[in-house]
Amino acid sequence: MSGETPFDPRLLDRFPADPRPDSDVAELRRIWAAPTGWERLTIVNNNYVGLWYVAAAFLFFLLAGILALVMRVQLALPLLGVLPQETYNQFFTMHGTVMMFLFAVPIMEALGVMLLPQMLAARDLPFPRLSAYAFWAYFIGGLSFFASLFVGLAPDGGWFMYPPLTSMAYSPGINADFWLLGIGFIEISAIAGAIEILVGILKTRAPGMTLARMPLFAWAMLVFAGMILIAFPAVILATLLLELERALNWPFFDPTRGGDPLLWQHLFWFFGHPEVYIIFLPAAGLVSMMVASLARTELVGYRLIVLALLATGFISFGVWAHHMFTTGMPRLSVGFFSAASMAVSLPAGIQVFSWIATLAIGKPRHNTPTLFVIGGVVTFVMGGLTGVMVAMVPFDWQAHDTHFIVAHLHYVLIGGAVMPVFAAFYFWFGMTSRRPLSERLGKWVFWLVFTGMHLTFLPMHLTGLMGMPRRVYTYLPGMGWEWPNLVSTMGAFVLGGGVLLFLVDLARKFRFSLEDGAGNVYGGGTLEWLPTGLYSARSIPVVRSRSPLWDDTGLADAVESGRYFLPRSVTGLRETLITSPMRAEPQYLQIMMGPSAWPFLAALFTAGFFLLLTVQAYSAALVCFPLAVLSVLRWLWDTDRPVRDRHADVGAGILLPTYMTGPISHGWWAIVCVLVVCLMIFAMAVFGYAFLYGIHPSYWTVPQDRWWSAPVVAMNGGAAILALYGRCLLAREASTRWIPTSAALFAAGSLVAAVTTDWLSWRAEGLDPQLTAQGAFSYALLALQGLLVAIAALMALYLAARTSRGLVTKPANTTFDVVVLFTLYTASQGAATGLLLRLFPGGT
């Protein structure tokens, strides 16, 4: 592995080049200027979108925190009547759901959106409009979801919404539908953000920032994004299945018709456990970066921490059933999950020891972020210890569903995520605010939060072991639970007081500014501390170490003088460099999209569609749906437009292409990520199908007309061949404008024919989705295929529209590639579905 690309690394020795004139900066400012007034809704730049994202996530943290305070008041003494039982159920469900789905993961995505481009010295994330869409979808969806509390329609089945409690029999109202449709939609937004972050980290790093020099927050976010792509499809499928059961009476989770409630638990926890590491890993990445700066020394064990992040990312997928130890799973299976649950503490321990070693050899100062880092590590380790305790099955059988688990989860989440986030607020505040947060008040904030946290949750270990269950709205006197609960309640208000003090300081000190920020108060050594504007750094430096600002004290001035890559806009448009994944060798110049109203409108109409479905306003939902689709298409219409100059001087006489297609292009990477998500949804559906057969084989019948799989596979195969043929035709000079696109259109037609044939053949066989889980799952798989086919057909029509306007370039075109890849995947899934439903179960 010498060069990863044809780029000659010796060209990087041309930098730093000669300084550039100040007129270049004025032009950069003009090109990257943010709209004002109402047009702020069209902003796509990461500095604004990231800030709004962070603010929104923190707002949800506060809202969920208020719910917790009210719950603690209710539990302060036995038989208090502050909240009626039904309302209490809504409160704890919303507290958990909002904290996990609307705060914990989004705050990490938000910090990624805000910090990563600057850390990597990219001008923005690679798909700015996608981040804007992800933010608005999350914000509008989240607020609407929370508002359900005010009309008494908040979900009340616990944050993990187990059937049969959440099936129609026991939850006939639309409360559960708010959760299912609301969270399902918000998770789509999270996936969009993850794709953005993954492609951004691998493709937009500053030249020379090899994987070995990448900031640890970037490594953590890379693993975070990969985990989201693998884990979130499980909960999207689960919410879809439960909603189908509730709306159409398809018995996925009804054991009287071949379904099983355990299927929900498997699907949910396959998402749910990686979810907590999705929350923890970015926080760990932040801690790794802060620890080095705060201790004023290089981080001990960089490579080991990278290993720990990767290992956690994998092993966390092997522990999901430790949430199900009490469900009667086979003993050997339970043993594997127990062992894996203990094994996953190894990589976490590596990180903790690394942080301790760094603090020990360095010279940390007594300041607020250091306090939050140390406090967080102490708290997280305590939570980790109880985690290993509950990994032991017999212990878990006693502690499951008691307050012991509530204590454990809050210790790991507050220690492992909330405190690092607070530390990060203090550490990076100077990037975006003219004034730093107060150190004096910050220490008060820390001690109130730390003390309050331990006062609240330490006694819960005791109440849990004394038998107090979770999710109970009150308890009888004389159980010995009174004093611990009272102490917990007092602690909660101490914790709340700390957060309130933080808010006061925030209001006093936060004054948004990028070019005039308070600066690098705590002495960080990475690129986000370069002087920046909305265009990020003035020029994109060549990175030669892990802490460039520590190792090259003249770097900031050289960057500001325009002595590196892209000191000006080459094309007059927003641009950034695309580099290779391993060695960050420059590959091409990416033209980036600017402000647009379409992402906001697309988010509004998508949220509207899901929310109107929830309240059963079907006609209005049917209006929103095409508007959402049209908004997305209109947004995409502006993209994939090659510029006149096929090559551009990106600095020091280095010429790079301005347009790239194929596996090198960022668009290709994005669609591959989307296909990974689709594949995971399908894989989880196949798992569910096989699982239900394994649990209740007596409800399964052997398919009769197996021969139908032949034409289904043939039509899907034909679609794949036509799509590939179209791609070959595009590369041929002799092809006219419409021939390749016609092949893509015919491919889409073949997909439609395949899924229609499949569907009709099962109808003819008399398979009833309401009668058995086999029927339900078969039609669910067909519906999933139908959805992909509809998207593929829409993409083909969109391609035809672009062809009619001469926007499909030859010999290669990114939009064409994206359509072909999606068609290939859809055809593969269609063929697999056709075979699976007819060949499994076997027999005659």
Binding site: G313, I315, R331, F336, A343, L346
Partner: protein
């Protein structure tokens, strides 16, 4: 792609071991056959990890490229970690 597969190779082997163990235990619950199959799978996965670890060490001895060397050390550490994890995870098949 090869470099990524090499880097994540150990963790992929772990995933195969875990998934295989889980599927075997689910398909043949409560049987001695399941335990033996898991032990066979463990043996195969451990052998693969050890072979690949040895190859990574050999390649490390021959490389002069800084990034490649860094990645090979990471790769080797990964194999070492998963060897420990797989041995630990196979213990339920051994312990009654």
């Amino acid at each position: 792609m090869r470099s990524w597969l090499s880097l994540l190779g150990g963790l992929v082997i772990w995933a195969v071991h875990f998934l295989g163990s889980y599927l075997i235990a689910s398909a043949l619950p409560g049987t001695t056959t399941a335990r033996w199959l898991v032990l066979v799978l463990t043996g195969l996965c451990l052998s693969a990890a050890l072979v690949l670890l040895a190859r990574a060490r050999e390649r490390l001895r021959c490389t002069t490229d800084e990034l490649r060397g860094w990645m090979l050390v990471l790769t080797g550490s990964g194999y070492s970690l998963v060897i420990v994890a797989m041995v630990f995870q196979a213990l339920p098949a051994v312990i009654d």
